[in-house]
């Protein structure tokens, strides 16, 4: 195994976590009061962990760049959260959730971690209901469920199209209770710029107060990174404008391995790009695929007429429509996993069947669902022989109750009424499965530095199934880290407070300062966004939905050249010791310019197609991903060696004792 020890406990899969919890060391309540923990990021993974650790008695400091912990980008998660409750009696179980997740991730995640996730999923729902999270309910007063892609059961709990918001506000409320008790100190509008290692252990961070510009030192016995994903390396993504890789990347540069950086999720249902001014992309929840049917015209001339504005989609008869997901994947239809749906949409658009003026859009159509719901509603409302108009009206009301906020969001952006004309959608970068390498205890390769949620790599393999990001964030934060971090901290009960007056802190602060000054001193011509957009174009065109060796090699060269140009020719107005939003952006883009190169290197090294990583050289005759389990059944964990091109690869072999590796089929 070399230097990568996953620390997966022995024993049968279903007993590992219980056994581990019984075996690990605990910290007694009185000693917890003497131990400090730093939490970077306050999304689901960070807020839930901060609250739980504080409840246990630890002293917690939380850091977020937003003006309030409540604004972390978990808030924007729409569709729902999975849990193996089997409330619908449709045969669900923790094992089935585990199996779906392993298969959905195309067999590139760790069995034991995923099983633990499935096991804890049921506790999350109980905990959230106890906190007052208002999940959707049925008329009988019990919780409602819906289906998500890649599974054959209904296990997704939701709160309209705002599930992430409600779960995050639950975790934020739990944090607030601890802030009120003085157990959490919340630092908002603060950005972590480095981790400080003392005697090889993570003992604090250097952060910048984004209002005053002041560089601050904060010490603790352990540091947890819960700073989310790095989708913004593509410039355009569904992430928030501020979402960044900086905390994770700086930790990587201090010794934490970065795993599977090329595993990115391209989400199939996003609102298409409208022009060069575009600053971000907006997701239309996967839950819409419960009721929406995805299609393009079957005839190329119809597609062209639509692009030229000469034909309306509603005028195309059923026989001339190609419901390509239903055609290619009859078993799962519109609910195939995200990677499969995205590639299928790209394939149709590349073949000339795209439906907006850029040719990069397919339809998501609710007409059939409106008719179906309308007829049902007419029946249950006792309306005999309803006319077409009544059915449509009733159907639209049902669809509005289910997805109203999403339809409104779409109409505002696109200026078209999705109840009357099909939505246009196209894949966009949404989530990153890669991240800091962690062992079973969620500890990185730096002792005392832990990583939870999207920022780590552990649970989703090469593709994440819908409604499982929220599940992972909360499982890590509420139910996993609070146990596993105790095992590490049990050695620290006699350590006493960590001082910020040490050589290690002096050095780290000086380096942070020097880096910021270097950025400010480049008195070039271009704003930060100029570089970010250029990087995004390289990433999307050469490291996006499909990749090949030639273009990946080009991407590596181009990103490296762009990075050199950036340090020379970027222009950042203002100074260091004041609020400086351009300087904030510059620091993040500087890190993206390094990560992007490692991303391409990782994609180039992985000579197989799996999940979201599709290498054109490795596909079946039908165009499906061709995995190579013999040579690539491992986690690629990269060690920082000064420049992305010099990064050193370490492999963690993935051992499958409980599932048989098969070709993933949704046909």
């Amino acid at each position: 195994m070399g230097i990568l020890d996953s620390k997966v406990p022995s024993g049968p899969l279903a007993d590992k976590w219980t056994k581990h919890k019984n075996d690990i060391d605990l910290v007694n309540p009185a000693n917890k009061r003497n131990i400090d923990i730093i939490m970077v990021g306050t999304g689901l993974a960070g807020a839930s962990a901060a609250a739980t650790l504080a409840e246990l008695g630890y002293n917690v400091k939380t850091f977020c760049y937003q003006d309030s912990p409540r604004r972390a980008h978990s808030i924007a998660a729409q569709g729902g959260i999975n849990a193996a409750k089997n409330y619908q009696g449709d045969g669900d179980s923790p094992y089935r959730l585990f199996y779906d997740t392993i298969k959905g991730g195309d067999y590139r995640s760790r069995e034991a971690n995923v099983y633990r996730l499935a096991e804890e999923s049921v506790n999350i729902i109980d905990q959230c209901v106890a906190q007052g999270v208002p999940f959707a309910r049925e008329y009988g007063g019990l919780l409602d469920n819906r289906s998500f892609g890649g599974v054959l059961v209904s296990r997704t709990f939701y709160a309209k199209g705002q599930t992430g918001q409600q779960l995050l506000l639950g975790a934020y409320a739990a944090m607030n209770r601890q802030i009120n008790r003085g157990k959490i100190t919340s630092y908002t509008r603060h950005e972590m710029l480095d981790v400080v290692l003392v005697d090889g252990k993570a003992r604090g961070i250097i952060a910048r107060d984004l209002i005053t510009g002041e560089i601050e030192r904060h010490a603790a016995h352990a540091v947890v990174i819960a700073s989310g994903g790095y989708g913004n390396v593509f410039y355009l993504s569904t992430n928030a404008m501020g979402s960044n890789v900086t905390a994770a990347w700086r930790v990587h540069k201090r010794g934490a391995f970065f795993a599977n950086p090329c595993f990115t999720q391209i989400h199939p249902t996003c609102i298409p790009v409208s022009g060069d001014h575009q600053s971000k992309l907006t997701l239309m929840s996967e839950s819409l695929r419960n009721d929406g049917r995805i299609w393009v015209p079957a005839k190329a001339e119809d597609a062209q007429a639509i692009r030229e504005g000469k034909l309306k989609p509603t005028k195309i008869p059923e026989a001339d429509r190609d419901y390509f997901l239903e055609r290619r994947y009859p078993a799962f239809g519109n609910l195939v996993p995200r990677d499969v749906a995205s590639r299928a949409a790209k394939e149709r658009c590349d073949a000339g069947f795209g439906v907006n003026k850029t040719g990069e859009a397919v339809y998501l159509d609710f007409a059939a669902a409106i008719q179906r719901y309308g007829s049902e509603k007419a029946l249950t409302s006792g309306i005999k022989d309803p006319d077409q108009e009544t059915i449509t009206k009733l159907g639209e009301e049902v669809v509005e109750a289910k997805y109203g906020n999403l339809f409104q969001m779409y109409e505002k952006i696109v200026d078209e009424n999705p109840y009357k004309t099909p939505m246009m959608i196209y894949p966009a970068v949404h989530y990153t499965m890669g991240g800091l390498w962690v062992d079973y205890n969620l500890q990185t390769t730096i002792p005392g530095c832990f990583c939870t949620g999207e920022a780590n790599f552990s649970d989703h393999g090469a593709n994440r199934l819908g409604a499982s990001a929220l599940m992972q964030g909360l499982a890590d934060g509420y139910f996993v880290l609070p146990y596993t971090i105790g095992d590490y901290l049990s050695d620290d009960i006699r350590t006493g407070p960590i001082s910020t007056e040490s050589e290690a802190f002096d050095k780290a602060e000086a380096e942070v300062r020097a880096n910021l000054e270097k950025l400010l001193n480049a008195k070039g011509a271009h704003p930060v966004d100029y570089y970010h957009k250029k990087l995004g174009k390289i990433m999307w065109n050469k490291c996006g939905m499909s990749r090949n060796a030639t273009e990946l090699k080009e991407a590596i060269e181009e990103i490296s050249a762009l990075r050199a140009d950036f340090y020379e020719n970027v222009r950042i107005p203002g100074g260091l010791n004041e609020m400086n939003t351009e300087l904030e952006k510059a620091g993040r883009v500087a890190d993206f310019l390094e990560l992007g190169e490692l991303f391409a290197k990782d994609a180039l090294e992985r000579n197989e197609s799996c999940g979201g990583h599709f290498r054109e050289e490795y596909q079946t005759p039908e165009g499906e991903a061709l995995r190579d389990d013999k040579n690539f059944r491992y986690v690629a964990a990269w060690e920082y060696k000064g420049a992305p091109k010099d990064a050193k690869l370490h492999k963690e072999d993935l051992v499958f004792e409980n599932v048989e590796l098969k070709t993933r089929s949704y046909k």
Partner: protein, 248 residues
């Protein structure tokens, strides 16, 4: 389209601010309002000026970070959306647009259009939660049926994004709608009833301490709320508060 922007510029919390004119051209209808400001900022940086600072993050109307008084209205002229969801097709060629921060004593300006809304966090910290520890041993989620009507109403109240438009819209800069939304979310659920008395008293006390004004029932908050939070929540909070005073 061509526009004249009049934007509030203020160096920091202790400096005086003023409206500055910025003519801008080549704005397209498909741009969002914030993308229009992005265009302006790129131009300013290229000229060597400092960009206009404004709060924004998710740009899809849910994080509650963006703000802005646009021609005197929080989140601009459209209803039920945030500034980040406002698109330039709502404006006409030649328009003048006045852009100011959300103004309230309890929301001090930090720089330009960015204000400090941490008062909202402190109101939540005073009692906006149910005191239940994380354990994995709470009762099964389906052990307490909650009738759909109340669950839905609770959700509607909980969908507040904490942007502060209600405060900015109110002539008294009152935070009643914000506070009432959180009180209501819990008041409508059986789990929330246990601590109802303390919750409403503590949250209202903190709201007053922060320097928000009183509610005089003009209803401007409800009109401007991007999430359509209903005034009924204020009535409910008043009832809760009265009950708490009697019982407490």
């Amino acid at each position: 389209m061509k526009l004249l922007l009049k934007i509030w510029r203020q160096k920091d919390g202790s400096s005086k601010g003023k409206l500055v004119d910025y003519p801008i051209d080549h704005i397209e209808g498909d741009m969002s309002f914030l993308e229009m400001l992005d265009v302006l900022n790129q131009e300013l940086i290229e000229k060597g000026d400092e960009p206009v600072v404004f709060d924004h993050d998710c740009r899809e109307g849910i994080c509650g970070t963006c703000s802005l008084m646009i021609n005197g209205e929080p989140h601009g002229p459209d209803r039920l959306i945030t500034t980040c969801q406002l698109h330039m097709r709502r404006f006409n060629d030649g328009d003048t647009i006045v852009i100011e921060p959300f103004r309230a004593t309890a929301f001090p300006v930090l720089k330009d259009l960015m204000v400090d809304r941490s008062a909202f966090d402190r109101i939540q910290q005073a009692g906006g939660y149910i005191s239940v520890n994380t354990s994995g041993n709470t009762v099964d989620a389906n052990a307490i049926p909650i009738d759909k009507h109340h669950a839905d109403e609770s959700f509607e109240a909980a969908s507040c994004i904490g942007c502060g438009a209600c405060v900015a819209a109110c002539k008294n800069a009152s935070a009643m709608l914000f506070t009432a939304a959180k009180v209501s979310q819990f008041a409508l659920l059986p789990q929330g009833k246990v601590e109802a008395i303390d919750r409403v008293q503590n949250m209202v006390r903190q709201m007053d301490l922060e320097g928000f004004g009183n509610c005089t029932n003009t209803g401007a908050c409800e009109v401007e709320c991007p999430k359509g939070i209903s005034l009924e929540n204020i009535a409910r909070m008043n009832r809760e508060y009265l009950m708490a005073t009697v019982k407490g």
